[in-house]
Amino acid sequence: MSDREQTGRGIGRLVGRVESVLRDSLLAQGAGVIGAVGQPAERLLWPVAERYNRTLGKRFGEITGLQLLLLLVAFGGLVTAPLWGQDYLRPLTLGAVWAVFAMGWDIQSGYTGYISFGHSALSGAAGYTTGLLVLHLNPELSLFVTVPLSILATTVLGLAIAVPSLRLRGPYFSLVTFVTVLLFYRLTKALSHWTNGLRGIRVDVFTYDLTLQYYMVVVPMLAVAATLTYVGRSDVGTVLVAIRENEDAVSAAGVDPTKFKLWSFVLSAVPMGIGGVLLAHVNAGVDPQTFVIVDNSIQMIAMAVIGGMSSILGPLGGAFLFVGLRDVFLVGLGEELRWLALWLLVLLVLVFARDGLFRLLWRALGALGGDRR
């Protein structure tokens, strides 16, 4: 065996050991603690979860009592945020916008395994459509005009990227999306007499009242979450995951994977459009740094990874966690350290918890109850 192979195996063994230590000690202990608290709660909530499973569960997937509790606490927390988090409304609002982006990325890339590095171009298309309409057509345009047009523009751009590239197997799709976003970024600067270059275009905020603004973002986010969860748990979601696992098998079963990949991209473009419009108004403007730059695409991926790819609700949680760390908890570290810590976290999740932190939590809660043990 060569030195390199030995080193490789050594590292492999080390990672394996760390994983098993984590699993056996931390997670087992954690599960023990959760178990002590969780069992009674599970018994209490199970009847409610049962009723849900018999009705909505058919559409959205079945859950146990504790999982229901998690959903209720998260939902309650989001809906009541202005009562407990006045000082954090801006990060929470941004978290909700990014949650829309992360979920939008997830339904396409997380589910089919065709990783896109270009989703910030999609959100940018929506933001810039709104901006250009307001700047060049009519500053008084109603949201009822700008919002549908922006979402439409995003979908058109999405198809323009997807149709030629999704027919190809392998890394081509990722490369095409990557180049698209670089191209888009350069265009915003090259066409600066249209786009105002780095300065960007001013867009009116929905409202200066942070509470109202928060709800104007969170309500669409919850709608996107419900819709995408429904789609993800439906037959469409099953096919998309099947494409990720074995595209040939999908073809062999008589289903056209290209068609489904295209659909997934449209499904993805619509939320990106919604998020882009929301960000334009929350941010009071569109500029290349906030919208298009490729780092934004990477951040969406990071959020989906932290939360758990191909689960929709995972990326939602991941987005809030990421933005919370970025804008609230790690701000004290200073610019450089903050980003180092964030990317280190993403790396650790990729290496040690590929299914994402929220999926870990979800499974831990599920293991304690229901009738799926």
Partner: protein, 456 residues
């Protein structure tokens, strides 16, 4: 290139369904959570938005300061602001109230600036905001600070559009904004053209190339300056906008050389022209490097370029404190150097934004005392009127503002000598021994401009 004045003004932009903060509060009594939870909570979650009851000057006066702290200019501005506040507090504060300074980092990003400006007006409830370095950042927060009636004294960015497209075109909305310095780039262009005449008289240089950041603040140089030079019978064979992330300059230098220029006027705030100077000095290119270059204002720039900076010039408000612009300039610079000259992180001198920010805080203090209030929520007009009456001898020059009805409403007035030469935007030149001299205008000169020795 686009003419910035031709973009349609969108000042009156107001979606019919966008609700102003004050009208919303009026309509609801407080900013409760959509009525969903009305009555659920005692304080209605109004989190720090309650105007302070219309009193005069409150317990403490809070001044917010915004700057990019990853940039030495921003750090210089922050330190100068701290010095101004400490001085004012030693002197009894503003109308006997203690002054508190809250600095937030814009990270040079418009969206980050909106976030931190929001924190200043909502959570810190500041009585005024000073700072902002780039025009992109300045303009990104103007809507927000005007919504909160917060006096906003701009101390770093110089695009004329900040006043022409905002203050002058929608005065009622943006009357809270003033530019304390530097003179806006419309006048900067005039200074450069007058300086070109000076170079022509001194060295016989009559051909100039213009190379600039492809950014908002340089559009004036790429248009108006070129026209002014041509009016003065000077040749401008080359005008070039460079991407703001440019790092290689070989072709630019060759182009300027090929154009037969005697000097290159370069306008770099985003681009670091240090590598360009190194290449220029090494290649002994037959033209001077003049104009505006933010990196060249760094006190450590000469060392950073290992001496290649020698003979390049840049304008800078305050002239790096090497000359007596006013009687306060040199003492302030020395006090700064005593406090921070040995600090680990640059700058060891205030830099232009430091000079202007220091002045801005004093300007606000004087105006607030004349107005007898810092309660901008209810008395903005009184504060604005007091600011308009400003005639203050600062460290960067004599500060007066253009009136409400003028083209550059609320902008810093340029100072002119008897010949009409603008004097409050001086040029400094690095010398062979690493010293810095003020070479223009003549009234402030510490030395004559020197041409690079290889130009014989």
């Amino acid at each position: 290139m686009a003419d910035p004045t031709s973009t349609p003004s969108d000042s009156s932009t107001a979606y019919t369904n966008s609700i102003g903060r004050r009208s919303f509060i009026r309509a609801t009594g407080a900013s409760t959570a959509l009525g969903l939870f009305a009555g659920c909570s005692g304080d209605g979650g109004g989190g720090g938005e309650n105007p302070d009851g219309g009193g005069g000057i409150s317990e403490t006066v809070t001044i917010g300061h915004l700057a990019p702290l990853n940039n030495p200019l921003g750090v210089g501005s922050k330190r100068s602001a701290e010095m101004a506040v400490a001085e004012i507090n030693d002197d009894g504060g503003i109308a006997d109230q203690t002054v508190e300074l809250v600095t937030k980092d814009t990270r040079a990003s418009p969206s980050e600036a909106r976030t931190v400006a929001g924190e200043l007006v909502r959570q810190e409830e500041v009585d005024a905001i000073v700072g902002t370095f780039s025009s992109e950042v300045t303009q990104s927060i103007m809507d927000l600070v005007s919504e909160f009636n917060t006096p906003f004294l701009v101390t770093g960015s110089a695009a004329p559009s900040t006043v022409t497209e905002f203050v002058a075109s929608d005065y009622e909305r943006y009357k809270n904004t003033f530019r304390v310095g530097p003179v806006n780039s419309h006048f900067q262009a005039e200074v450069i053209s007058q300086y070109a005449g000076h170079l022509s008289d001194r060295h016989g240089w009559n051909t100039f190339a213009v190379v600039a950041d492809d950014a908002e603040w340089t559009t004036v140089f790429r248009n108006r300056l070129v026209d002014l030079l041509k009016e003065a019978d000077l040749d401008v064979p080359m005008v070039n906008g460079l991407a703001t992330d440019t790092t290689s300059f070989g072709s630019v230098l060759d182009d300027v050389d090929a154009a037969g220029a005697d000097a290159m006027f370069r306008f770099f705030a985003h681009i670091n022209g240090g590598p360009m100077a190194a290449r220029w000095a090494q290649g002994e290119y037959e033209f001077g490097i003049e104009g505006v270059h933010v990196a060249s204002m760094l006190p450590a720039y000469y060392q950073l370029t290992e001496g290649a900076a020698a003979y390049e010039t840049t304008t800078q408000s305050g002239a790096a404190g090497v000359t007596d612009i006013t009687s306060k300039t040199v003492p302030f610079t020395e006090a700064y150097m005593e406090a921070y000259g040995d600090a680990d992180d640059p700058p060891s001198k205030p830099m232009y934004m430091g000079f202007v920010t220091y002045d801005a805080i004093h300007v606000f203090k004087n105006a607030a005392e004349r107005a007898g209030t810092v309660d901008q929520e209810n008395n903005l007009d009184t504060i604005v009127d007091a600011l308009l009456q400003t005639d203050f001898t600062g460290v960067a020059g004599q500060i007066q503002f253009y009136g409400a009805d003028e083209t550059y409403a609320h902008d810093l007035r340029e100072e002119r000598d008897g010949d009409g030469v603008i004097t409050n935007y001086p040029l400094t030149q690095w010398r062979e021994d690493g010293s810095l001299e003020c070479v223009y205008p003549e009234g402030l000169q510490t030395a004559e401009h020197a041409a690079p020795p290889w130009m014989g």
